[in-house]
Each structure stands twice: as C-alpha cells, then as structure tokens.
Symmetry: none
C-alpha cells in the first residue's frame, strides 16, 4: 500500500527547520508494510495545499498531513481541509475537554482562540492529542484516508504511535514485514559488507539486508516480506545468527536500540554502576544515558569538568599533571577516570578530554584530538582519537567511541 506525506508550513520552505518528521513517519510506516510514494512540503497557502492534496490522492491510499494546526492566523490547514472536503465545522466535545484539561492543568484562562481548536470539519474522526491543544483528524473520503496531525514532533509521534498506526493496522490487511536489526560499533560499512558478502549473497529474494551507518555505528537491518510471519522470523533468525557469529566483537545487540541503552541493559542485568567525567563532551554522554527510563539504576552521576579548576576540584586531577602534560593528554584522562571511580564510587567510569573546536587547537593537539578512558573492575582502556574539525561531530563521535570502549571492557570483564 502506498502513502504520501504532506508537510504544511513556511518554516521548512525557508529552511528554518529541517523536516525530521517525514523521515520518522516513513520509517514507522515501512515497519508495518506501507511505502511512502512522495513527500511534499508546501506553504501555508490555501490553493497550494488544495492542489497538493488532490495530486497526492491520485497516487496514494493514505495521506499524512502535518503542520498548520496552531491557533494563530497563519495556520490554515483545518479550514483548507474543510474546503477540500466541502464540509462545515462542528465543535468536538472530546477535543474541547482536552483543551480545557490542558488549560486547567497549567492554571491558564481558556481564550476563544483556544476554544476554536475544538472546532473540526464535520466529516472527521478526532485523534486525541494528549500533548497539545490541536486535535488530530482522520478523514475517509472517496476511498482515500487523510490524517492531519500537528507539526510539533512529539505531538505527532505520540499520536502516530498511540492511535494512528494501530488504527491503520486495524483497518487494512497489510503484508507481514519482519525487521531484525543488529547493532554494531567500531567497524566501517564497507569492511562489514566485505566480511559478510557471502552470507548476503545467500539471502533469499524476500529478505533484504540494509546497512544503516551513523557515526561509528552501523545497523544491519534484515527485512523479510511475505505472508507467514512465523516462517519469515525463523529465516531471518538463521541469517542474523550467521552474521553475528561472523562479525564477532563489533556486534553489540540484536535490537534496534541506542548503543547506550544496550550498555544500560547489560549493566542493569549485572548490577553494575557507572559514573562519567566529561570535559569536551560537556554533558552529552551523561545526557545519552539519562534520557533512558531506569538509567538511575546504573548511572550514579558525574562531573562536567570543563575548566581545569573543576578537573582538579571535583576529580582530584593533580595540578601538576595538567601543567606538565596539558588537559588533553593521556595522563589527565587517566587521572580523570581514576578520580571518577574514587569520588563517585561507581563500578565503572568513563572519562573524556579533548579539543572539540573550532578554537583551542595547537600544532601538537589539533582540533579533533580526544583522549578517552574507560575503567572498572581492575581493567582500563585508554585511547587517543583524531577526529575532524566540526565541533558537534567531535562531541558525538567522542561519545560513540567512549560507549564502544565501555562495551568492549564490559565484554572483557564478563569472560
């Protein structure tokens, strides 16, 4: 079955925001066997929206529309949809209660403009928006489903996951699609591909292997399409097993989860604790861990020791070490990880110090130079990396490599 996505709003067309919604939706739709035929971003302009809707309806069975549902004048999606379907507006009780609930919760008076958000085209079914005042809308018009949702990513995502996707699956008979994802870290896409080339060549035509690389990690996704879910899963499991055996240490987990979540799961299972001493990553690694529910079972905390003073004060790095070898050095990163273990009293610790850039580089230590240490249960790994000159990438790459090293250490001490 084919779908299309239409995003409405000038923000994307003037390049103020990058359209991440569409990629997320496309991915979720793929998982349930729906292919996206076209993604269109159009402006807050009635005639343009009407034309885009009509064109999409000639190609697809389901049309997802995001954006343009706010309470202000520039948001015209709702009235344009009513015009498209040739219907008037009705007040939806459930949507009004939702708006009232949200305003009551924040102790705000309900304005007329907010009450208007509960007015919807007469031919729609409401998709409740628990995270915002603009309801989603589901239309079934001349054999095509139209689904209108807010453009705010988390509002759209909760509606998709909680209501829209289940409703689609209940309404349509979709083919079975099985996805199994193998998370790997520390080896490039082309090297992995070469190592498993013969296994890939053996795959039957109904199983596809995709390489999804991202900053030092590669996800290998096996997707099988067919009728019988059970036999598809069995086939996929066999090939996943072969790949895991072949690639060895770079394999992390056979789930499509974040690298740090895989580590949290392993450490939770073994009752281990972690602390982190971050300099150039500036809190990013701590954030990666703490965004996951239950991370407090493993993650005790840490120091974001950006200044040299705090490296000494919080972690106990010796003043002389920094004087003699510099803040970005093997000696400093070692004292940082030792200090984290000692002061934060965790089983394992990570420390990172480097030059994220764009300033601060020297001839000896150019921008992108990063030292990482991981330590615990009597073992330690220390490595120097030389990344590029992009600050954000240096922060992210440092984090991934630190996680990769911790994953390796955890594997070693398990033996």
């Amino acid at each position: 079955m084919l779908a299309e996505i239409i995003t409405i709003g000038d923000e994307i067309l003037i390049g103020q925001i990058v359209d991440t919604n569409s990629a997320w939706m496309a991915r979720e739709l793929n998982k349930i066997g729906i292919r996206v035929k076209q993604i269109s971003s159009v402006s807050d302009d009635k005639d343009h929206i009407l034309k885009a809707l009509a064109e999409a309806a000639t190609r697809a069975k389901i049309i997802f529309i995001t954006g343009g549902l706010g309470p202000t004048k520039d948001d015209i999606t709702k009235k344009t949809l009513a015009e498209y379907f040739g219907v008037g507006f009705v007040e939806n009780k459930e949507a009004l209660e939702n708006v009232e609930r949200i305003f009551a919760k924040y102790n705000r008076p309900l304005l007329d403009v907010n009450r208007l958000q509960a007015q919807v085209p007469a031919n729609c079914e409401i998709i409740l928006n628990k995270n915002g005042t603009a309801p989603g809308m589901w239309f079934n018009h001349e054999g095509v489903i139209y689904i209108s949702m807010p453009g705010v990513p988390f509002e759209m995502m909760y509606m998709m996951e909680g209501e829209v996707l289940p409703k689609i699956m209940a309404n349509f008979k979709l083919p079975s699609i099985i996805h199994t994802t193998l998370l790997t870290v520390g080896e490039g896409e082309s090297f992995l591909a070469e190592r498993i080339a013969d296994i890939e060549n053996e795959l039957p035509p109904y199983i596809k292997l995709a390489y999804l690389p991202k900053l030092g990690q590669v996800r290998l996704r096996l997707s099988a399409f067919g009728e019988d879910e059970e036999s598809l899963q069995k086939q996929v499991d066999i090939f996943a097993g072969k790949i895991i055996e072949r690639i060895g240490a770079v394999f992390v987990v056979d789930k499509d989860i974040a690298l740090e979540k895989a580590i949290l799961d392993k450490m939770t299972e073994r009752g281990l604790t972690l602390s982190i001493a971050e300099s150039c990553t500036g809190g990013y690694i701590s954030h990666l861990f703490t965004q996951h529910p239950g991370s407090s079972k493993v993650f005790l905390g840490g120091g974001v020791t950006y200044s040299n003073g705090l490296k000494e004060h919080i972690l106990g790095v010796k003043h002389q070490t920094i004087e003699q070898f510099g803040a970005v050095s093997e000696q400093t990163v070692k004292e940082m990880v030792d200090g984290a273990l000692l002061n934060f009293k965790s089983d394992f610790a990570i420390s990172v110090t480097g030059v994220a850039g764009p300033d601060g580089g020297t001839v000896d230590k150019p921008v992108g130079t990063v030292w990482i240490a991981v330590s615990g249960m009597g073992k330690m790994l220390i490595k120097k990396y030389t990344f590029g000159n992009k600050r954000q990438q240096n922060i992210e790459r440092s984090a991934v490599m630190a996680l990769s090293m911790l994953n390796t250490l955890l594997t070693e001490v398990a033996d």
Copy 2:
C-alpha cells in the same frame, strides 16, 4: 521569484536519511531573494520523476533537483532528464577530465561505468563537481531553469556556493526578502498572539508574521518581500520594535539563535561565568551550552548528581535535608544551587531536581514534578514546575524553563 526543490531517491522515502539538503538550499535561496514554493521527495522511478518535473515547472521559474546521479543502476535522474527534454547524450570533455583527474588522484583504474558519468544530455551546461565524479547540469528549457546536482551534501553545497548561486544572481534581477526573528520564552503561542493582535493587524500585506512554537519557546518571524531592501528592513524593524516593547520580559533576543546561545552571548559580553548542578536533566543543560563554540568562556562545568550520594559529595547538600524533605524539594534544589556557586566558583549557577519518570513518582511528587533554582550576584529564583509524564519532554521542558529563569535573573541583575 519562485523555486522548487525535487529530491530523488528512495533513502529519504524509507526514512533512512533525513533530508537536510533541502533546508540548507532553501536557506541559501532565501538569502538571495528566491522563495521555495514546494519541496518534493520522489522515488527512483522514471514516470514519477517526469510528473514531478512537469508539475514543478507550472509553479516555479527555477527547479533544483538533487540525487540519482550515481554510477549504479538505480540512479536514473540523468536519463530521465534527457527524456523530459527530448534530447540525446553527448560526452562532455570537461566532465571527463574531472573524472579522470579524480581517479588518477586515488590511483584507481577508470571503469566504463565511471567514464559514462561524463555523458550528459545534449542541451545542458555543465556545473563542475570538484568533489565527485557526477557533474552538475544546468538546463534552460522553455523559460524555466532546471539545475541537477548530486545528493551528497558537501558536493551539492560546494556546487551551489561556487557556481550555481553566482550564476543565478548574474542571470536574474532578484527581489529582496528580509527575515527578522524574535525569540521569546515562557509564554504560549495563543497568549502572545492575543497580546500583539493589533500590531499584527496593522502589518502591510508585504510583511508576514509567523509563530514558531517549540517547548515553551515561541519564535516570532517577520518576513518582508519587496524591491528595496533598505526600506523593507526599516519597516520590519519598526514592527519588531513594537512587538518587543509590547511583550516585555518574555522577549529574549532578536536573532534566530538557540535560547542557550542567547544567554551565552549575554554572559560572554558581561564576563560572567556559569556552573550547573543537574539531577533529573542528567547533563542535558550542560550539553546545550557546550555544543556552542566558545562556551568555555562562560561555562565552567558542573555536576550531574543523579544519586543522592553525589548530591551530598559533590555539591555539599546536607544528608539531613534529603532525609527530611526528599531529593525533589525546594530545600534540596536551594542547597544544590548554593553548593554549585560555592564549589564550582562561578558567578551564576543553575540547579534542577525532579522526577523525570516514567517511574519514581509518588502521590505528593508525581512524575513531572521538577524544582529549578537559579542564583547569582546575590539574587535567587526558585520555582516548582509540574510537567507531564513523558521523560524526554520533562527533561527538555526543565532545561528550557531553567534557561528562561536564568535569562530573567540576568535581566534583573542588569538593572
């Protein structure tokens, strides 16, 4: 003048990659006075591409096409363009020399499939690709310009900056577009809209106001279209000034930058330093600051004191305080911010403690309960927030509110 962007390739439609190219192109085009009317992502399918080209040509004077120029079988943009224009292929000498140069550089033998990359539709002008083997192509067909470029971001960007944009500016007399963005925090879209309704109604037809809300922040964007840049800017400045005066304390800065960047700029200018004691935000606020170049001038560091033990050990929160009032309490958040100022020796400090969820809530302190304190130069603000039950949102909202409080405090101590 209107443009459209068409991206070709399945990667975007299956959500494997996020289309960042289009936002970048739209931004660059806006700067020279070209508005993007529609962005369309279509699959590697001849008929679909032909239809998208024909539709775009009815709306726009310039059509940018990215992707589908690789040497492999699934890349069909070039031959589809030749069919669209009804022309044959010719070998382009310059493009061939470029391919040969690149292969010589990497000491690789030139395969026939690579040589084919120098074959281009007979009606095009070449846009040299210094970073890759696929040439860009410029077509002028029945009054519409078509520009085809590779989808690899840095190849496309280099071609746009070095050749395409200068050529467009040389060929067309372009109108001016002025954007001014006002960043606000702490007041909802509909409240802001009501407060400035009369100013919005006064706007001349060539100035548009857009509301761009995001987690407690709203960006107000004034866009003006016309001939005379100077007078447009003057008009926009007048309306921006009226809005700023009206909305008062919720206004942060008249630039399209991140909230924490606005704070960093203010603090850098005044030579002030900052430290952060984070519990439920788990390093996220520190990460927000440290992703910006130059943040080390302001941000000294901080503690991610997830466990109670670390709140006591790193920040000096009294054991008895946590025992008596709990880790999520006014007393604890106050001792955290005091401890940050004292131990991290900064001019200002932020502290945050709360129940991010989904677990850990109680009747008294349900998930979403967050205490935030900001302190410095003898002043302190402490507030309790009650957010929802989504962990990621609670983290992000806490961060935005902490930044908002710090912005308020900085404004107060400036008086």
